[in-house]
């Protein structure tokens, strides 16, 4: 697999090169608000159609211009700064809900439409896209938004509902996109059940604009539930919170979300759950869950509306709270992904690592789904925030890299965590005695957790590897070099310098 570094491309001489201006009706010189992670582009183009986006990319690749796609701009600072950035493609000019086939529970929407716009269009039919990433401030603007369809897909953000409905990649059933050379292509379709051809939507979801420009997406929709309730509790310890998160996922309760929040500082550890379904059932399940929470010793058990911190990143808001506080959304935000059974261990490692690094840390996220967000506030010195990130990766690596053991006996302690580092032992598939095959290799991936920096002040970003170790990086480089051989799409923004 060849992956030669792209040749250095010429920078834009003037503010807007003629071929770019000719490709798109709306092109303007870039201003200070258009900066991408500290790198200022020369121009901003706002295509109105997939055809215009295609013409733009054809022009840009002809000139060797580096291109960064942008939706609402709420996450434009995430990732590494681009190695080059000549042209920002602002997708907010493509904001139409193209088709809503309510009877089929499917909608096609342009990439620049916001999730709020989409929700409004779908809500009229009692339907929704079950994707609820945090609302974030639009740079240089007072507004907050969950983001555009394209931005949310490319950044791979999701919210509490991911426990039941998955992330954007799980709800995306078709996608139209433009390659670096202007080729317009699509994969998937308009039906949920479809295995024809490669599912390139999976590849583009979370690719942070490094493989193609997403221009249109088709989603599977869900009905708005007849009733929704939240049950929130304050736990005196992390262990108690973890127990409650595990207990809440009993089949009799079936939450669609299981969230946790632990502000910088001492306990309580807050947990909250969302229940959806038939009104009488939701009420009954909320009562059962609240009773379980009280029985476990939790205080302040409330059933009803979502708590203030629900579905937000754990920004260090006023009074050490966890709600979004305007102007306080700064700091180093790390996304920690893990196997949900390791929740207690991961929480402990996050707190211990922060303490060791001399940094405060607030933690929140989808505990039931194995996603936490750890925030080191902006007031913590950069070297301590950086020490937290690298320290956490080291700690997770030590704790969660040991080979997995065979299945525990039913009725034994539920966790199959290796205590003695024994190699994997075969468990025969159909309950027969072991077949005598030698144990070999590791049963699982190198490390069953990751810590990726989402947002960070420039001083922290310079000190850390934003993505950390990435399984399968060689194949990812090969994919990148096939899709974007000239290296013009968001160069340097992604894992491994992609």
């Amino acid at each position: 697999m060849v992956n030669e570094p792209p040749a250095p491309a010429p920078r834009v001489a003037g503010p807007v090169p003629a071929p770019v201006a000719a490709a798109c009706r709306s092109v303007r010189p870039a201003g200070p608000a258009d900066v991408v992670a500290g790198v200022r582009p020369s121009a901003v183009a706002r295509p109105a159609s997939t055809a215009e986006a295609s013409a733009l990319l054809r022009a840009a690749s002809g000139l060797g211009l580096a291109v960064v796609p942008r939706g609402a701009g709420t996450k434009i600072g995430w990732g590494s700064p681009p190695a080059r950035c000549d042209l920002v493609i602002d997708m907010t000019g493509m904001d139409q809900v193209t088709e809503h086939a309510a009877g089929d529970l499917v909608a096609t929407v342009q990439a620049g439409a916001s999730l709020e716009q989409l929700a409004e269009a779908l809500g009229a039919a009692g339907q929704r896209l079950a994707l609820d990433p945090p609302a974030l401030p639009v740079p240089g603007d007072g507004r907050r938004t969950r983001g555009t369809v394209g931005g949310v897909l490319a950044a791979g953000t999701a919210g509490p509902l991911r426990l039941r409905y998955g992330a954007g990649r799980d709800l995306l059933i078709g996608v139209t996109f433009v390659l670096a050379d202007g080729t317009v292509a699509r994969s998937g379709g308009k039906v949920v059940k479809n295995v024809a051809g490669y599912d390139l939507g999976k590849l583009l979801a979370g690719s942070r604009g490094t493989l193609a420009l997403i221009t249109e997406a088709t989603f599977r929709l869900h009905p708005v539930p007849a009733a929704t309730a939240h049950v929130a509790a304050e736990c005196a310890s992390a262990a108690q919170a973890c127990e409650l998160v595990a207990a809440a996922q009993a089949a009799s309760i079936s939450p669609v979300a299981a969230e946790i929040a632990w502000a910088a500082g001492p306990e309580p550890v807050r947990v909250a759950f969302a229940l959806e379904g038939d009104p009488a059932s939701v009420a009954g399940r909320a009562r059962e869950l609240a009773a379980r929470a009280r029985a476990s010793g939790a205080a302040e058990v409330l059933a009803g509306a979502a708590p203030r911190w629900w579905g937000a990143f754990p920004w260090d808001g006023p009074a050490g709270g966890l709600g979004a506080a305007p102007g306080r959304e700064a700091g180093t935000l790390v996304q920690v992904a893990f196997w949900p059974g390791d929740l207690g261990l991961v929480l402990a490692e996050i707190r211990a690592t922060a303490a060791g690094a001399g940094a405060e840390v607030a933690v929140g996220g989808s505990a039931g789904a194995g996603i936490l967000h750890a925030l080191v506030p902006g007031r913590v010195p950069p070297e301590r925030a950086a020490a937290f990130v690298s320290g956490l990766r080291g700690a997770l690596g030590r704790a969660l890299s040991a080979p997995l053991t065979a299945a525990p006996e039913a009725g034994q302690p539920a966790r199959g965590q290796p205590a003695d580092g024994q190699p994997a032992r075969g468990q025969p598939a159909d309950g027969q005695p072991a077949d005598g095959l030698p144990a070999h290799g590791r049963a699982g991936p190198a490390c069953r957790a990751s810590a990726v920096v989402l947002a960070a002040p420039p001083a922290v970003r310079e000190l850390v590897d934003v993505f950390g170790p990435v399984p399968g990086l060689a194949l990812m480089r090969a994919v990148k070099s096939r899709f974007d051989p000239g290296g013009i799409l968001s160069p340097g923004r992604f894992a491994g310098g992609i």
């Binding site: 699509r186 009993a250 089949a251 992904a337 095959l437 290799g441 399984p471 994919v479 096939r482």
Partner: protein
């Protein structure tokens, strides 16, 4: 055999002569996997000449049955070194010829890799080898109150590795999703013989979602050797309803009413009069007499929700014209209701000498129009079509009945089956909902996708398999030459030089 196939075989023959062919690898593969793991005997090779789609047959040059991931990697490396194509096969239950072997290639069978390596109930995950049967995962998870949700109808036999290749669904994928929603990590052997992990089992690994891209790639991007699967809590309650209607039109109206009411059943299946007749003949499922269509609706979840939804579905079905509704009160009654549905494909063999199983998808709201159109096409062709389908997601399985002793009928059946796919495409659907493209439907891909779409998909293939040795000839109608440096072609491609491929 088509002209194209004849030419392909000739090219393959030349290639084989050129480098000694797969037989020359027998000693090296035996050194890797043991002599008992390599099959060269022509009679034994014949066992592997097709998968579940018996219309396509090709005896493999060599079969190897590795027992470990390291052995698979060494086998693939040996093939890559020799420039010999290879095809992976699980249990061989696929219905699109995705595991069709090549006479000039090696067939790598994963059926000896059938260990469940780890179950983590707290994380609701298991790590399994590719040859583990789908149902064995659910059986192993049951003591923890968990199950593996994807349930293709061949689940007793079909392998999890094959499910990964095909992104298998099943009757319950309407609510629970497909394989891609239940797999969070893969250990794979890349087409150049490297053993590597994609994803870390979390479902949110840093970097591109290569797990998602790999699942459903039909064995063209590599061979999976370990799989991290998600396990789902067993539902508190399950109800299965059987509703009998006079026509599929009434049944379809009931489906629309159920979905329109905001209910998401685990499964909604429909059978028409002819498939009911076949099922009665085969398994005496005792569905209500005189039914022109039956609907099977399964609801699962918390008990109170299931109770409320069951009442709603009963009422909606009755309002749509159901003349009898049965409700399974226990697992035995549930099994009885499903018996007819599960036996439908095989049962058609009782009422027809031969049949083609089609697999197409239309938007659910287009079902009535498409069923009418299938009726017209059936009348025009003078052939019977039995309709069995996953009504909730518009996934049709029309069974085209014909007499294979008649060349005329065989050809007409093939045309009719193809015309049904054309209808699916015309209604904005798909040429396959779950059986895959394989060799069987690659010729339909250009009807569903443009040349740019297919070329772009092949960029992914080129990233994984630049030499084009990994299950070549599947999914895509025309091979794409990858070139050594993206965007730059230098001289003749080795495959062209070897006569394995043509430059397009």
């Amino acid at each position: 055999m088509t002209e194209r196939a004849r030419r392909a075989r000739q090219r393959a023959g030349r290639t084989q002569a050129g480098h000694g062919g797969p037989a020359a690898l027998a000693a090296r593969l035996a050194a890797i996997c043991g002599t008992g793991a390599v099959i060269t005997d022509p009679m034994e090779l014949r066992t592997y000449e097709c998968d579940g789609l018996t219309a396509h047959r090709s005896c493999p040059g060599l079969v190897v049955l590795p027992q470990t991931a390291a052995e698979v990697a060494a086998v693939v490396r040996a093939c890559a070194d020799a420039g010999i194509p290879f095809v992976a096969r699980g249990s061989g239950t696929g219905l699109s010829g995705g595991a069709l072997p090549r006479a000039d290639g090696v067939l790598i069978v994963t059926s000896r890799m059938r260990r469940i390596l780890h179950i983590d109930p707290a994380s609701r995950r298991a790590v399994v080898e590719p040859g583990v049967p789908n149902l064995a995962v659910s059986k192993a998870a049951a003591p923890y109150g968990l199950f593996y949700a994807p349930d293709p109808s061949s689940q007793q036999v079909c392998s999890v590795g094959g499910n990964v290749a095909e992104n298998s669904g099943g009757a319950h994928c309407l609510k629970h999703g497909f394989t891609v929603h239940h797999v969070t990590g893969l250990e794979v052997v890349t087409p150049d013989g490297e053993l590597t992990w994609l994803g870390d089992g979390t479902g949110t690994a840093p970097g591109y979602d290569l797990v998602g891209a790999f699942i459903g790639s039909e064995g063209t991007l590599g061979i999976v050797t370990k799989i991290v699967v998600l396990l789902t809590p067993l539902p508190q309650a399950v109800t299965t309803l059987l509703a009998a209607f006079e026509s599929t039109g009434q049944g379809g109206a009931a489906v629309s009413a159920i979905i329109g009411a905001g209910i998401l059943p685990a499964a909604i299946e429909m059978m028409d009069a002819l498939s009911i007749e076949a099922a009665e003949a085969a398994v005496a499922c005792r569905y209500p007499e005189g039914a022109g269509a039956v609907l099977i609706v399964e609801l699962d979840g918390p008990a109170a929700d299931v109770a409320a939804e069951t009442a709603a579905v009963r009422e909606l079905a009755a309002r749509a014209g159901a003349f009898e509704i049965r409700e399974a009160a226990d697992p035995a009654e549930r099994a009885a209701i499903w018996t007819g549905r599960r036996s439908a494909f095989a049962a058609v063999g009782r009422i027809s000498p031969a049949y083609i199983v089609q697999d197409g998808v239309v938007p659910r709201t287009a079902l009535p129009r498409v069923l009418d159109r299938i009726g017209e096409l059936s009348a025009e062709a003078g052939l019977r079509v039995a309709n069995v389908f996953h009504a909730g997601d518009g996934n049709l399985h029309p069974l085209v009945l014909f007499d294979d002793a008649s060349a005329e009928q065989s050809a007409a059946a093939e045309r009719l089956s193809g015309a049904i796919l054309d209808e699916c495409i015309a209604h904005g659907g798909s040429i396959t909902g779950e059986h895959g493209v394989g060799v069987d439907k690659s010729r339909y891909m250009p009807k569903m996708f443009g040349a740019e779409d297919l070329d772009t998909m092949q960029l992914l293939r080129c990233a994984f398999d630049p030499a084009g040795l990994c299950n070549p000839g599947k999914v895509f109608p025309t091979p794409r030459l990858c070139g050594e440096v993206p965007g730059v072609r230098r001289g003749a491609h080795p495959l062209v030089a070897a006569g394995l491929a043509e430059q397009f």
